[in-house]
Amino acid sequence: MHYLIRRSLHAVFLLFGVSILTFLFSALTPGNYFDEMRLNPQISPETVAALRAQSQLDRPLPVRYVHWLSAVAHGELGFSFAYNSPVGPLLWARARNTLLLTITATLLAWLLALPLGIWSASQFGRAPDRVLSWATATLLVIPDLVLALGLLILAVRTGWFPTGGMISVGFESLSPLDKLRDLASHMVLPVLALVLSALPMLVRHVRASVAEVLEAPFLRAALGHGIPRRTLLYRYALRTAANPLISLFGFSVGTLLSGSLLVEVIMSWPGLGPLLLEAILARDLYVVIGCVLLSMLFLVAGNLFADVLLYWADPRIRTEASAK
């Protein structure tokens, strides 16, 4: 248990660190924000003055941080000027959509990367491996911005997929099965964009880790015992290569989350990404902070999940933890 406690504490530390960073960013130039707010006709001067007073600009930083932190802890994430509503509910609705996209893309990417990488490692140096290496190299060279835009243009010109949004008009009146189909068809493009941009790196790493394990003497010994090939690959090799791969999983959550920001904006998927962008352009301070914090929360949660996975998968960590 000690390991898990340690990792949970680490996650909490990360969250605190992120909150401090975010707070520092926002605190360093609040002047800009409030000055620009005054220029915004949608916000009354009284509101600006009240907000300015509330943010206690003249108090020392640590005091302001504690004040801000306690407000956040109470679920008070501030007020959005653009949407004229509290930030909290606004965020949660969008967050659900982002999670849907990111989790699907992560699962799909790994479900593809693992078998491809393992197969590639077992065919090391031969034709199938070389072809796959070329394919991943080609994908690697196409950045996610280019890929997403390209897919969008493809959709627009062929009309095969809906070109944006999450649901069609008249979604409410559809039967449950049709609702699912509608959602799925809207998800294809963004998920494809995310998966294709993440896949090459994942496949390469899986291939490298598994190939290294396949060289190990204990595997050749197992081979000599007559254990079937598939078992060897998946139960023996994969288990041993699991350690670095699970760390990679934690890292991939971060890159997919980053990628989802861009993909959501391009494909008009109503997630945190477009919200953050709008908020930045509209100088909607509290929405910006809320979005950034929430995305970091997801990231930390994803990494903690990876830590738990590691605990479950790697017996060495379990024994090391119980030995303490």
């Binding site: 130039t29 060279v141 980053s258 953050l276």
Partner: protein, 350 residues
């Protein structure tokens, strides 16, 4: 041979960068030259065979005119054939910002040849892509420079002095590494003023990009410093009374060079992409300065997406650069042939 492939990729990159640096020569027109009568021209085709089927050595093109029924569709007016000339004198420009020149690689008189089409204001896309590349590449290179400088500095302090400085710096680095970089980039950008002059915007973009990625180079440099610090030749130099600065400058820093170089090859393309992303979303370089990012900004319009596909082409410009930098990074990470394990056999239990 690792050295040979490194040189090969370096040459490729130098050529690519050279073309962009000499954008004035390769671009037929100035990037701000407008032609409002002809917005959204599609890419023009070059012909070698005329309507009668005769072959012409010198390629030529037909100017485009509006189709009668449509308001934004063009067709070639095959009555006029305008030849393409090479090494023509055109609008004057400054090569690399210093040398005034008037020569362009190709051009035509009487009409404009727009090989990649034009945008809403009739500006030639090819020229805009070439000039825009200057901004994007420079932003990427400078951003990488800032990051590497910052990362090296922090890595050296952490590795050389160790102790609480090391712990603190590495914890902060861990934090930065753990965060999704695009959100970090946006957060940094968000808290800075939006409407700034192009030069300020450029500097802003460089600084913001530079501040995001220092953690990984810092960790790597720290590792190198920690291990080199304990080497006997450093001890021997200390035994001669060397100062810390001397040790860092003459013994430790040279060892970090290869790590920094590899990181540069990895970071530069990422930072070019970061600039593109920022400018695409309106948070980076503003008009009228073109950068690869803001050239794509018009694609956010549905109508542009549907009707004017050539506006996507600036996105492809970055691909050869990605390829070059990827090749360079791979060649740097290859171990020397002497240490390579002889030929891995494919794993086949039959």
């Amino acid at each position: 041979m690792p050295l040979r492939s490194f040189t090969k990729w370096l040459v490729v990159l130098l050529v690519l960068h050279g073309v962009i640096a000499a954008a004035g020569f390769f671009a037929p027109y100035s990037p701000i030259e407008q032609d409002r009568d002809r917005p959204y021209l599609p890419p023009m085709r070059l012909h070698f065979f005329d309507t009668q089927g005769h072959f012409h050595f010198r390629p030529f093109f037909h100017p485009l005119r509006l189709r009668e029924s449509a308001f934004d569709q063009y067709e070639e007016s095959t009555s006029t054939a305008i030849p393409l000339h090479f090494f023509v004198r055109g609008a004057s420009y400054h090569l690399l910002g210093i040398l005034p020149m008037r020569f362009h690689l190709f051009g035509a008189s009487d009409a404009r040849i727009c090989l990649l089409g034009t945008d809403a204001f009739g500006r030639d896309q090819l020229s805009r892509i070439l000039y825009g590349g200057q901004v994007s590449l420079l932003a990427g290179l400078l951003g990488a420079g800032v990051t590497l400088f910052l990362g090296a500095l922090i890595g050296i302090v952490a590795g050389y002095y160790a102790g609480w400085r090391d712990e603190l710096l590495m914890r902060v680095a861990e934090l930065f590494l753990a965060l999704p970089w695009l959100y970090l980039l946006f957060a940094l950008r968000a808290f800075l003023p939006l409407s700034v002059s192009p030069l300020e915007a450029f500097l802003l973009v460089v600084v913001v990009i530079g501040l995001v990625g220092w953690a990984r180079p810092a960790r790597l440099v720290r590792g190198v410093v920690l291990s080199v610090k304990e080497r006997d030749f450093v001890r021997a130099a200390r035994g001669f009374g060397a100062s810390h600065l001397y040790l860092l400058r003459r013994h430790i820093l040279p060892e970090t060079a290869s790590v920094l170089l590899t990181q540069a090859a990895i970071l530069v393309p990422q930072f070019i992409l970061a600039e593109m992303t920022l400018s695409f979303l309106g948070l980076g370089i503003p008009e009228p300065i073109s950068s690869w990012g803001n050239l794509l900004a018009s694609l956010q319009n549905y109508s542009v997406l549907v009707s004017y596909w050539w506006m996507y082409l600036p996105a492809l410009a970055i691909i050869p650069f990605f390829l070059g930098y990827l090749g360079l990074a791979s060649s740097l990470q290859e171990r020397p042939a002497a240490y390579k394990i002889v030929e891995k056999k494919s794993w086949n239990p039959s």
